[in-house]
Amino acid sequence: MSRIGVFICHCGENIAATVDPVKVAETMSRVPGVVHAVDYKYMCSDPGQNLIIEAIKEKGLTGVVVAACSPRMHEPTFRKVCAESGLNPFLCEMANIREHCSWVHEKSDITTDKAIDLVRVIVEKVKRNAPLYDIKVPVTKTALVIGGGIAGIQASLDIANAGHKVILVERDPSIGGHMIQLSETFPTLDCSQCIMTPRMVEVAQHPNITLYTYSEVEELDGFIGNFKVKIRKKARSVDENLCTGCGVCMQKCPRKKIPSEYEAGMGMRTAIYIPFAQAVPNKPVIDKDNCLYYLKGKCKICEKNCPAEAIRFDQEDEIIEADVGAIVCATGFDVLGTDSFPEYGYGKYKDVITGLQFERLASASGPTLGEIRRPSDGKEPETIVFIACAGSRDPAKGIEYCSKICCMYTAKHAMLYKHKIHHGKAYVCYMDIRAGGKMYEEFVRRAIEEDGVNYIRGRVSRVYEQDGKLIVKGVDTLLGSQPVEIEADMVVLATAAVANTGAEDLAKKLRVSYDAYNFLAEAHPKLRPVETNTAGIFLAGACQAPKDIPEAVAQASGAASKVSALFSGDELSREPVIAVVNRCPPPVFSTCEGCFICEQACPYQAIEREEIKTRDGKLIKVVAKVNEGICQGCGTCVAVCRAKAIDLQGFSNEQVYAEVMAL
């Protein structure tokens, strides 16, 4: 027989003004199973709490009901009180007679009666409460960082410097991402490579970081603190341990005319290649789609010439398995293919290029060693036109959203051009200038006022070639929308930033949600911007939305600190409000029939299958099992279970029905 203590709070006048606490206490004292019922002015005050502690001790209560404010307000308080006096905290519940009663009704007997009902309901529930214990989940203190761009690098370094192990996985042969392709960065114009390469080296040398380049995440299982990941390490066809990165193979390779990804097609590379001089690791890979040996079965010139004998044509992909406790997704972005813009003639005219290609032209390490020369004939462009929003804010042909970074990098491009070709004319055709950010607006103004870049407000309708000039048919909406024609030598399209290729597949592998544009979705747009709705997986950088470098870095550090916090203890502990499958021994009597409707209903894939075998290993039946690491306790499975074999701790069928019966 349960011994329940009921404590009615006046909350000063807040409750007492409309509800008669004395009557409530008096009525409750007559409820079977209630051995103690008192009212007090402020239950949450120290004297109030002491009333509870004493009662638990003296009357040996098996359950406590505090009738006061909303449990969302003080449940933790009173549960703590119980715990301190040796009563399992989950045997304490609150009846909400303030927000749900005294505050919303006039003073009357009816109101008091309602309060009595509300308390009785909880009393009936608590009679059936079972002691519960926080669930402890062990944590593997290794983080997986996917993507080796600036965001991934920053996150890896921060986590590693906090003393935790990091596995960094990069799809390309080298880390560095888009940032290493950039010439100079706005608004400070410091050289991207100069600030980037030290970080890349640091990653390579950090004792806590294991780097897998030319690798991809193949498969992910498990849950927060206990993920299991399979990584596919693609065959480089080069033995990294033997290779010294001397580069002889690249000099000898007969295939020299392959457009370089790093140079965004503005330069060429060989079939066996190191993407760029500062690559990390500085070891080549063989591009099987272009290597003569893989295509035609003969050549092997690199093998013959390699002093370290590191070439391995027979090398195969490797699958690496690892346990990780948290994941940072930093897979970055891609630039929209400009083929959707026939009117701008990209691909038709050599001298119409993308912003990323211009970065390579302007970069000291680029194909022109930093001189702005047009691809068609290598001449210096006298007149250059930058077309903003090539794809952005264009539901018809491109994407609906604003790519955010283009306004700034276009201003930078125009500035760099003017710095390199003083006498040249630079025009920027724009719709709006979005320069929100520290020193950003100032930067744009500088381009206009000091470097004399000419901004024209209006979208360009068409670009066509005539007598070796690119005719840009624009408009000036500030001049009464008068058409404007510019004879340009070169046109640069500020192409939109879109989700990276394969973002969708990755999201599915990681079980994180993604938006209509395939950008990975944060758990809350305002308050949980680095978490995903899958516990233990965090976001960093442009895989979530277009971001510039400072933003990407900031979010990366944010994600890193979340991971470090997660790793600060050896176990995670969480509320035991989770579903359990009835498993009364002997197993044969487990009421679960194994229909697995619950499996489909569960929003978290928390339902696992468990085989019940006899001692001699004969299979009796397959039943459902709840993974308590994953289960969030929504109880959907309980509602759908036909055999009533699953129940939700804290909201069991018995408890809930008892509540209804009490009314």
Binding site: H100, V104, N533, P603, T636, F651, V660
Partner: protein, 144 residues
């Protein structure tokens, strides 16, 4: 005899409607006293036998209220609830139960005023419908 006062039982989810009702309180919005709230983690938890039980217990009307579609704290619980409710309702219709006595609502944690209005409207509607006696009658038949 005084005007019939219906007895309404509300099954609400912990994250949206329960919090919404708290907000009704903190903003001191008055509403009918007829409702008794039962707190569940999620509308997805609601096993519709609970509704029948409520009516068996003499409830004249039932409110089921949770998060707005897409806002479910457990991502999909409210969808499951709605799906099952659609099936369950047609069953109730079939057995000749007046489904107007069951009211489905979405009240978010920010919609204190809406909660009050939902309760009031349901109370009025059920007051129109009059007391729910079919079950008691049936029960009696069972006894005799």
């Amino acid at each position: 005899m005084a005007e019939f006062e219906p007895k309404i039982i509300a099954f609400v989810c912990n994250w949206c409607t329960y919090a919404g009702a708290d907000l009704t309180g903190t903003s001191r919005i008055k509403y009918a006293t007829n409702v008794r709230m039962i707190r569940l983690p999620c509308t997805g938890r609601i096993d519709f036998m609970l509704l029948l039980k409520a009516f068996a217990q003499g409830a004249d009307g039932v409110i089921v209220s949770g998060c707005h579609p897409g806002d479910c704290h457990y991502t999909a619980g409210n969808y499951h609830a709605r799906r099952r409710w659609i099936l369950f309702r047609s069953l109730l219709d079939f057995v000749g139960f007046d489904t107007r006595r069951v009211h489905f609502a979405w009240v978010s944690a920010a919609e204190g005023a809406k909660w009050a209005q939902v309760v009031n409207s349901v109370v009025n509607e059920v007051r129109e419908l009059g007391p729910f006696e079919d079950y008691q009658k049936l029960a009696r038949v069972g006894v005799e």
